[in-house]
Amino acid sequence: MAALWDIPAVQTATWAFVKAMIILNGMLGVVSYLIYAERKICGHIQARTGPNRVGPLGLLQPIADVLKLLFKEEFVPANANKVIFHIAPILAVFPAIVTFAVIPMGPPPTYVVTDINVGLLLFLAMSSLGVYAITLGGWASNNKYALLGGLRSSAQMISYELAMGLSTIPVLLKSSTLSLVGIVEAQAGWYSIPGTPLALPNWGIFHWYLVLPFVIFLITAFAETNRAPFDLPEAEGELVAGFHTEYSSMKWALFFLGEYMNMIVISSIAVTLFFGGWHGPGLMFGTNGWLSEGPGWMGLIWYLVKLSALMFFFIWVRWTFPRLRYDQLMGFGWKVLLPASIVNVLIAALWLFARGGM
C-alpha cells in the first residue's frame, strides 16, 4: 500500500479525486443556500421577508425544497425524444463542474485541483458547451414554447460568447499567460498610483484599461447564465417557462442547479481575472503584508468574500432590471458589445506596447 502511494501519479490522482469530491459536494450545498439567499434578497428588495417558516429564519427551506423535488413525479411528454430528453439536464450541470477543476480558490497547489496552461480556454470551451443543454432540452421536449426558448438561447449564447472571449484578451495581454493560476499570480502585490503616495492592490480592475473589459465581461456573464435582464430563453410572459416547460422533478432541478453553478463559475472567473483571485491583504497579521505570507486558508476566505460579493451583485441585478426585448438583446450584443471589446483589445495592446510591457 505504501509502495503504491509513493508513485507520484497515484498521489496526484488521489488528491485530484478528493478535491473533486469536496468541490462537487460543496457546490451542491452552496447552490441550495444560494437559492435561499436569492429568495431572501429578492424578498427584501420587494419589501417582503422571504422564506421564514421552515426552521429559524427559514434556513431549512432549501432542504424542504430539495425533498419536495425528489418526491415529485418524473414526467416525459409523449413523442419526446426520450434519450436526449434525459441527457439534456446532465449536460446543464457537467460543464460548470468541469470548469471548477482549473479555478484557483487559494494558494496553489493545495487550493486548486489542477493547473493547466490553457485554463481560461477550458472555461471558454465549457461555457460554449453549456448551450447544448438548453437547446437540446428545448428541442427534445416536443413543445413549441420549449423549442422557441431553446433556439433563443443558442442564438443568444453564441452572440455573447464572442464578446466574452474578446473581453478576456486584455487580461491575457497583461499577465501573458492563459493559466488561471498564472493570471492570479500576476495580480499579487501593490500598484502605486502615479503622482500620489497612495497604492492600490495590483488587481486587474484597478488598471484603467481593464475596467471596460470587466464591464463587458459582467454583461456577457448575465447573458451566458441566462439571468435577468437577459433571461429571454425562459421569458414566462411569452414562452410559459421556456426550455424547461416540460421538465419536472429532479430533471428540472438539474437545470436549476446548472444555472446557479454557472453563476458561481462565471463569478469565480471574474474574481480570478479582475479581482486578484485569492489575493488580499493579510487580515491575520495586521501588517500590509500579503497573504502569500499568511496561512493558505486565508486565501480561500478572501476568494469566498469576493465571490459572495459578486453573487450578491448578480442577484441584485436580477431583481432590479426589467427584461430586454429580443431584438434589443441581439442589437446590443452585436452592435455595442462586440465592437467595444475589439476596440478594447486594441487600446490595451497599444498601451502595453507603448509602456514597453510586452
Binding site: 425524444n81 460554449s128 448551450v131 493559466s179
Partner: protein, 184 residues
C-alpha cells in the same frame, strides 16, 4: 497509460464518426459529431497540443455544431425518407467514394503508423505551446494568416450583402411587417 488513453479516445472517435453517418435521426447524428470532436480534442491533448484541443472544442463543438443543430431544428428534419432514382444514384456515388477512401486508408496503413508524436522534440513545451503557436503564426506564417482573415471578412461581407438584398426586395414587394422588422 498514454497508450491506453489513446486507444480509448481513438475507439470513441471511430465509433462516434460511424454513428454520425449511420444514424437516421439528423439531430442524433449531429450530437455524435460533437462527441467525435471532443474525442479528437482528447487526442490532441495526448499529443501535448492543448491549445489545439481546447480551440477544437470552442470552435467546432461549441460554435459550429450549435449552428448546425440550430439549422436542423429550424428545418425540423425528422427522418430521411427519400426514395426512387435520385437516392439510388446518391447511394451509388456514396459507395464508390467510400470504397475509394477505404482503399486509400488501407494503402496508408500498410506503410506503418506511429503512436504519439512523430518527432519527439516538442517546440516550446516548457512554457506551453500557446506562446510558440503565437510566435510562429505572427512571424513565419503571417501572410497565410492574414489571407485567411481577409477570406473570412469577404465571406462576412457577402452574407451581409445577400441578407440586405433580400430585405430590400421584401420591402419593395410590400411584404408583411414582420419581415421588415426582422431585417432591421
Amino acid at each position: 497509460m498514454l497508450a491506453a488513453l489513446f486507444v480509448g479516445f481513438a475507439a470513441l472517435l471511430v465509433v462516434t464518426s460511424l454513428m454520425v453517418v449511420l444514424h437516421k435521426n439528423p439531430v442524433t447524428s449531429a450530437l455524435f459529431l460533437v462527441l467525435a470532436f471532443c474525442s479528437l480534442a482528447g487526442i490532441y491533448l495526448l499529443l501535448r497540443a492543448e491549445f489545439l484541443g481546447m480551440v477544437q472544442i470552442v470552435v467546432y463543438a461549441g460554435a459550429i455544431m450549435v449552428l448546425f443543430l440550430f439549422v436542423i431544428m429550424y428545418l425540423n428534419l425528422q427522418h430521411d425518407v427519400e426514395t426512387g432514382l435520385q437516392i439510388a444514384v446518391r447511394r451509388g456515388i456514396g459507395w464508390f467514394v467510400g470504397a475509394l477512401l477505404l482503399l486509400t486508408g488501407a494503402a496508408l496503413l500498410k506503410r506503418g503508423w506511429a503512436l504519439g508524436p512523430a518527432n519527439e522534440v516538442l517546440p516550446g513545451a516548457e512554457n506551453g505551446n500557446v506562446a510558440s503557436i503565437g510566435r510562429v503564426l505572427y512571424s513565419r506564417y503571417l501572410f497565410p494568416f492574414e489571407i485567411t482573415s481577409i477570406l473570412l471578412l469577404v465571406a462576412m461581407v457577402g452574407v451581409i450583402v445577400i441578407a440586405r438584398g433580400r430585405t430590400r426586395a421584401a420591402v419593395e414587394r410590400g411584404a408583411v411587417a414582420g419581415a421588415v422588422e426582422g431585417g432591421r
